[in-house]
């Protein structure tokens, strides 16, 4: 069974704080993705990666950095978090880019 885990599951921070969201997949997939989901906008792609050390810019990258340290691990970094980054964040992995396996999500609140 494909497995994607995310941590933390919930995070509250203040404006200007630094936040790191972690994602690990045990599927041996090459592709990994970070999305945010907001009411009225659906899923929006922040960053993605084709493999360790690779990083691709998504559709809403401003204010976010990402790093793919290994095949398994993909991190999303928010430096100087802002209230507009309050959202539900999903990580996903895929072998082909099409059938994506999602983590449980991280709910981030920036006060």
């Amino acid at each position: 069974e494909a497995a994607v885990t995310q941590s933390p599951r919930n995070k509250v921070t203040v404006t200007g704080g630094n936040v790191t969201l972690s994602c690990r997949q045990t599927n041996s997939h090459n592709y990994m993705y970070w999305y945010r989901q907001d009411t009225g906008h659906g899923l929006r792609l922040i960053h993605y990666s084709y493999g360790a050390g690779n990083l691709q810019i998504g559709d809403v990258p401003d204010g976010y950095k990402a790093t793919r340290t290994t095949q398994e691990d993909f991190f999303l970094l928010l430096e100087l978090a802002s209230p507009s980054q309050t959202s539900l964040y999903f990580c996903a992995s895929s072998g082909t880019g099409v059938e994506q396996y999602f983590g449980p999500g991280t709910r981030l609140t920036v006060l």
């Binding site: 906008h41 659906g42 691709q56 999903f90 996903a92 880019g97 099409v98 994506q100 999602f102 999500g105």
Partner: protein
């Protein structure tokens, strides 16, 4: 770029009724994926259907590639089918990204 329209935006059924969800997209898609998001937020892939008709359990998807549309039929709905159904076309020309619709919110009442 690719745009995805899903209809209806929301649907309320009585248990046992059938549901028909529509997805229209603006550009060519080499693949099309249907996802389910539970009321608790978890996202799972339902099926992949780039063209033609595919069945899995009580779900039937029909995609007409030339007309850039896909449908998802849920037969004999159950309360556990409640949630949001998302359509996501894929084109290798789009840098291997899925393009997401806003979804159809389905509520099945007992």
């Amino acid at each position: 770029g690719q745009q995805v329209q899903q209809s209806p935006a929301s649907l309320v059924l009585q248990e046992g009724e059938n549901a028909e969800l529509q997805c229209n997209f603006s550009s060519t898609a080499t693949q099309l994926q249907w996802f389910y998001q539970s009321p608790g937020g978890s996202l799972v892939s339902l099926l992949s259907n780039p063209s033609g008709t595919k069945h899995t359990g009580r779900l039937t998807s029909t995609t007409v590639t030339k007309e850039r549309r896909s449908s998802l039929h849920i037969s004999s709905s159950q309360t556990t089918d409640s949630g949001t159904y998302l359509c996501a076309p894929f084109n290798v020309g789009d840098n291997s990204k899925l393009i997401w619709g806003l979804g159809t919110s389905l509520v099945v009442n007992p």
